[in-house]
Amino acid sequence: MASMAQAIRMALHYGEKHLDVKDIFGEDVGAPLGGVFTCTQGLETTWNTPLDERGIIGCAMGVALTGDRCVAEIQFCDYIFNTIDLLKLVGNTYWSTNGLFNLPLVIMTPVGAGIHGSIYHSHSFDAIATRLPGFKVVMPSNAKDAYGLLLAAIKDPNPVLYLKPKALMRVKGKELLAGEPESDRELKAMIDAPVGDRSKWKANWPELEDESVELGKAKTVIEGDQVTVVTYGRHVLECEVAIKEVQSQGVSVELIDLRTLYPYDWPCIQKSIEKTGRVIFVNEDTEVTNFAEHLVYRTTQELFYHLLARPRVLAGKNLPGIGLSPALEYASVPMKADIVNEILDVVKELP
């Protein structure tokens, strides 16, 4: 089964071949490396930019202003912060011009902790991303969605921020993509660049299909009726493990993978909370002015009388950084035990 990095690579290939993607660029995105997480190996339209994040976003804007489609990468979201005003411009160009210039571009960037990345390879970006009106924001939790969301992002006429949970880059999917060979070794031989000299290597792409995942549509990963857990990215996996544990104690949990953070799938969340009466929103960005707080706000405004317990946000501690030592990292972001505790706590709470 393809890893998330391989799935992203295949989606970009599909984009080049069928969706008119003209440029894929960023720091170390082109040959020979093909990206620090190998997401851009073997592609036709990749190129290395100068080490200049503002230049990368500005270039993507310019390409999109000509109507050409491109995918730009910021190597780690930890280094996207000096482009915030440009991201504001990307988000407001269509609106400011009253519909004259849309920017069909995708910006992808690895986010989150989970790889012992220390202070500058562990930042999250979802809270800020959802404060950039005009953007759509997605974050996959598995290889198949990574593929499908990227195709949808490329096709979308709006700017899309594609957040890659970096801890999941090497995690293999559980479902084959249409056209993907069944054997991992075969896929690797086809699309992974060889170690050593790559100058003559060319990828041998499988015949892939358009398996887009519609933007704005969440997925109910586990059905349950006592409490709803809404999350995305690597915390879908973290929550799955936690939910298995509480299931053995007889607690029934519904797990929703949001997939698109904005515009988010409220009907899916709403239906679930109406059923369970309890909800926990889980993510690893810092907890103060966290995106989940907006979802809690909406929950209290619209679903107050369905609630059996206080809606919760379980997010990263409001710290300046994530320390390298595992003890520090694990105390900073929601871990399995935190999720288990929160679930058990919320089901105990009675109105």
């Binding site: 005003d85 440009l86 009253n98 519909g99 979308d156 006429p157 515009p263 409220w266």
Partner: protein, 336 residues
């Protein structure tokens, strides 16, 4: 006594065309200032005094849509460039008075913030210097498509202190990946209230291009003839060699920074129009009376245009959600 045809620096018709457009552009800006002062607009910013550079630029650039035409990444002092392109005064006033008929932003943005897809005029933004970044992208796309168009970017002198200006130098000059990018600096020697010496150690801003193996030019942007000849050469070079060039033009800031500092005529700045009219009269190409008449005609025209659009409606409040997303997809979270 009229100068013989052969010694004129440009064709007579071209000189008169430049003059005509300079007057037209100046009158347009002066009308904008009047609109501001009479309380019909919230804010004015524009480019009176910089016409001797802008008008030739607009005459020489290749107007049209798509990669084969020139992309213009402008700042807020470029109505003169677009006057040469055929900009309609009425539309400028519509934007100035934030009418819903404002064809560039629908009443959403300040004056002189143009966005004209048919002419490759990409949206003017208030963020200083970011246009030097977006220019990289259109120039890259043109190079990729082996297109006939080039990208032209312009901005003020103070803004060149932003890293975005340096970005344009770096990205445009990479060996084997040089960009067809004409980088212009309209050096009016001011950044709001901070003077040139207060922000620059370099003698010429254009000199920074030398470190990047770029061709550079410094011109008297108050002289439309010198500007025209230099710009013609610069554009030809960029078009032919598909390489960047940086051109710095010394210009005047004739009415201050914006309405925020009064928008009053500064007598201590050279007025390029006065200088050019003296020159044209010396050459015997136009009389003082003809100059006056030309100005009066444009003043009348702009007054009528202004009066025509003054009564037009502003945008309706319920349109705030329009065009957040393409195809007017719902963007109000209350309705997700």
């Amino acid at each position: 006594m009229s100068k013989s045809k052969s010694t004129l620096p440009l064709e007579k018709a071209k000189l008169l065309e430049i003059h005509d457009l300079m007057v037209k552009a100046r009158v347009l800006e002066e009308r904008l200032i009047t609109i501001y002062k009479s309380g019909d607009a919230f804010f004015w910013i524009g480019g009176p005094g910089e016409e001797a550079l802008g008008v030739p630029l607009g005459l020489l650039a290749k107007r049209g849509q798509g990669h084969n035409y020139d992309y213009l990444h402008l700042h807020y002092r470029c109505s003169h460039i677009l006057t040469s392109y055929g900009l309609e005064a009425k539309n400028v006033f519509r934007q100035m008075m934030n009418k819903k008929t404002d064809p560039f932003t629908g009443g959403r943005n300040f004056s002189n913030h143009y966005a004209i897809p048919e002419w490759n005029v990409v949206p003017v933004t208030s963020t200083i210097e970011t246009q030097y970044l977006t220019a990289i992208g259109t120039a890259h796309a043109q190079k990729r498509e082996k297109a006939k168009g080039i990208t032209i970017v312009t901005g003020g002198d103070a803004g060149t202190a932003e890293g975005d200006f340096a970005s344009s130098l770096v990205w445009a000059s990479r060996k084997g990946a040089e960009l067809p990018l004409l980088i212009i600096v309209q050096n009016n020697k001011w950044g709001i209230s901070t003077n040139y010496e207060g922000q620059h150690g370099e003698v010429n801003i254009a000199d920074r291009g030398k470190g990047f193996n770029m061709k550079t030019m410094v011109v008297n942007g108050n002289d439309p003839v010198e500007s025209y000849i230099a710009l013609e050469k610069a554009m030809a070079y960029v078009r032919k060699h598909q390489k960047p060039l940086i051109l710095e033009a010394h210009v005047s800031r004739l009415y201050g920074h914006s309405s925020a500092d009064g928008a009053n005529l500064r007598k201590d700045e050279e007025d390029c129009l006065v200088t050019f009219e003296d020159q044209l009269q010396q050459w015997g190409l136009i009389s003082e009376d003809e100059c006056k008449e030309l100005r009066l005609n444009y003043e009348k025209e702009t007054r009528m245009a202004m009066e025509e659009v003054r009564g037009e409606d502003g945008p309706e409040a319920n349109t705030i959600w329009d065009h957040v997303y393409a195809d007017n997809e719902n963007a109000d979270w209350r309705n997700f």
